[in-house]
């Protein structure tokens, strides 16, 4: 066995250019598998992460309310009461898209304004920087209060401190700012960015909205395991109200993540398959070279057989030679693939790391290629008749 490895190394070294060209096929194949798989899973992984940041527990309902058929906040809170263990928070979200917002004489054109409940802060996983959150009393009393994002506080009032107890005018009506929320996204701290928003009590927003209906609700499940139960129950409830399933939509983040992960799996497997074709081609290259090698060394094989080498010994020698060639190629391919993955990831601005399974898989495949594609040439060598083999010059 050890002898076969020594012989394999000798044979590879004695034909350097040919060995390198053969290995090149394996190197390219292995590197391609690693790069494609790692980049894709890095990129998609980032998308999944973004969804996870938004909350895996989050479930959102979008409705198109009509005069005859609609749901309101009471319906939803009743739903929560019926299944108290399912939810940890619920908030209607009422978007006032055409409201005129003014801070003194400044127009806040880009600021989004949403009517929400006291649970919204937790659902969004935001944290207060100054002041207080909206409370139930604000909803019940329809108070003219608001919580603002840090962009609004800093840009129009100078700081969170200064914003508190100042007011903002919405459609001419003053709302006192009771709280400021911590900056969420440093990179997007701009007009229309993540931190450019105002929250007011949803009861107030509903009054101000054109049709007076609450179209969207967002809630947090107390456990991801309840997701399916909750969405099923919600859909049943909504169908009961609307009689038409095109008038509403229930979206659970965890299901989105699940289906996203599934598509990542499919996509990765597809790309690995495409890259795998190059490994197959490389394997055929290995086989080709081994067939040449066997032909060239027919006389050597004849001598070895005459001196008493069994078929298995000859076989082993050539299989190991093929496996060593492709394994060396595989190792280089992994190194090159890993380095390329890092630099491509850096250029694309994503964190792409060669995944362990991509490395293991391509290493395993390259060893297997040597064994499989080395088998036929080795078999040919082992079966050679020593008399015929000795006759060759």
């Amino acid at each position: 066995m050890l002898q076969s490895f020594k012989l394999a190394i000798k044979a590879i070294l004695s034909n350097k250019i040919r060995s390198i060209l053969t290995m090149l096929g394996i190197i390219i194949g292995v590197a391609a598998v690693i790069i494609l798989v790692s980049i894709v899973s890095g990129y998609m992984g980032q998308m999944v992460e973004q969804f996870e940041e938004m909350g895996v527990n989050k479930i959102t309902i979008f409705c198109r309310n009509m005069n005859t058929r609609h749901i309101d906040d009471d319906d939803m809170y009743k739903f929560w009461d019926e299944h108290p263990e399912w939810l940890s928070g619920l908030s209607p979200t009422v978007t006032l898209s055409s409201a005129v917002i003014k801070s003194g004489s400044d127009n806040l054109d880009s600021t989004s304004i949403t009517g929400v409940s006291e649970d919204y802060l937790d659902i969004q996983k935001y944290v207060m920087e100054e002041g207080r959150n909206l409370v139930y009393a604000d909803m019940a009393g329809r108070s003219s209060v608001c919580v603002v994002g840090s962009y609004v506080a800093n840009t129009f009032y100078g700081s969170a401190d200064k914003a508190i107890e100042d007011t903002v005018k919405i459609n001419g009506k003053p709302f006192s700012i009771v709280g400021v929320i911590e900056t969420q996204d440093e990179d997007n701290f701009d007009e229309g960015g993540t931190d450019d928003f105002i929250w007011i009590p949803y009861t107030v927003a509903t009054k101000m909205s054109r049709n007076g209906y609450i179209n969207n609700f967002v809630m947090n499940s107390s456990d991801v395991a309840y997701t399916d139960d909750i969405t099923t129950a919600l859909k049943a409830k909504l169908l009961d109200v609307f009689k038409n399933d095109r008038l509403y939509n229930v979206m659970a983040n965890s299901s989105v993540i699940k289906s996203l992960n599934e598509s990542i799996g499919t996509l990765t497997a597809m790309l690995a398959g495409i890259a795998g074709i190059s490994l197959l081609v490389a394997g055929i290259g290995v086989m080709n070279i081994m067939l040449v090698s066997v032909t060239e060394r027919t006389r050597e094989i004849g001598i070895r057989k005459a001196l008493g080498a069994r078929q298995g010994v000859i076989m082993q020698q050539f299989v190991i030679e093929a496996a060593v060639t492709s394994t060396i190629g595989g190792v280089f391919g992994i190194v090159i693939g890993a380095l390329a993955t890092k630099s491509i990831g850096a250029v694309m601005g994503i964190t792409a790391n060669p995944t362990v399974w991509a490395v293991l898989l391509s290493f395993g495949v390259s060893v297997a290629i040597g064994l499989i594609f080395g088998y036929l040439p080795a078999k040919n060598a082992a079966m050679l008749n020593p008399i015929d083999a000795l006759r060759v010059d």
């Binding site: 006389r299 005459a306 008493g308 069994r310 078929q311 020593p386 008399i387």
Partner: protein
């Protein structure tokens, strides 16, 4: 009486060439005892190489029996034949057949390697064997650094390394000049004197006369089998 080392009985080797059957060996029976030095002589095409392949367990007869050292090889598998060759026969080829990428030591070690002998022992015995042909100091060199005569001595060392029952020499002087041929033949004689059994295949009567016994093959048949003196008389060759 002891069993003969080589016992060939009614051996035929028939090749099919197109529609014709060619009798390369045509009913050959031959016994060779331990300790003999036999030359098998014949012209090219006489069937002597075929007979050598049979004796060397490189090939199996079409029909008939070949009993080597008490074992019938006629129905052996490829691997069994490999073992027989490894343990029983030391080959000395016309073209030496050394592996050019191995050192002399590694070349001589080969049959021992296939016999499954451990590395240390292998090395010791191979060096010993190289010593017997006077090339111990050159053990780390490669075949192409040696003269033809030296290479043939290495191949003899390789044949001796496994301590075989039979040395089978196929035109051992075929590629050598007359002086080196002389040396090689003298060395074979010396090995014979030490008790080795030697079968030498040759087309050259003068070389055949160096043996003790001569077997002449013609058209696949044995046409003469006797002592060297009888052979010289019968074929009127000056000794």
């Amino acid at each position: 009486m002891a069993l003969p080392l080589i016992d060939i009985r009614n051996e035929y080797k028939i090749y099919i060439m197109g529609t014709e059957q060619v009798y390369a060996n045509d009913n050959i029976s031959l016994k060779i005892d331990k300790g003999e030095f036999v030359a098998i002589v014949g012209k090219s095409g006489s069937g002597k190489s075929t007979l050598m392949n049979i004796i060397g367990a490189l090939d199996k007869p079409t029909s008939g029996k070949y009993i080597l050292n008490g074992r019938d090889t006629s129905n052996m598998t490829d691997d069994e034949l490999a073992d027989i060759r490894n343990k029983t026969i030391g080959f000395i080829f016309q073209q030496y057949n050394l592996l050019p990428k191995l050192t002399l030591l590694e070349n001589v070690e080969l049959p021992l390697l296939y016999a499954g002998i451990k590395a240390n022992d292998r090395r010791k015995r191979a060096l010993e064997s190289l010593g017997r042909v006077g090339l111990k100091e050159k053990y780390a060199q490669y075949p192409n650094q040696l003269s033809g005569g030296q290479q043939q001595r290495v191949s003899i060392a390789r044949a001796l390394a496994g301590n075989p029952s039979l040395l089978l020499a196929d035109e051992p002087t075929g590629a050598l000049d007359s002086k080196t041929s002389r040396d090689v033949l003298n060395f074979l004689k010396q090995l014979h004197a030490e008790g080795n059994t030697i079968v030498m295949i040759t087309h050259d009567n003068a070389i055949a006369l160096e043996a003790e016994r001569v077997v002449r093959i013609h058209d696949g048949k044995i046409i003469f089998d006797g002592t060297t003196e009888e052979y010289a008389t019968e074929f009127q060759i000056s000794h």
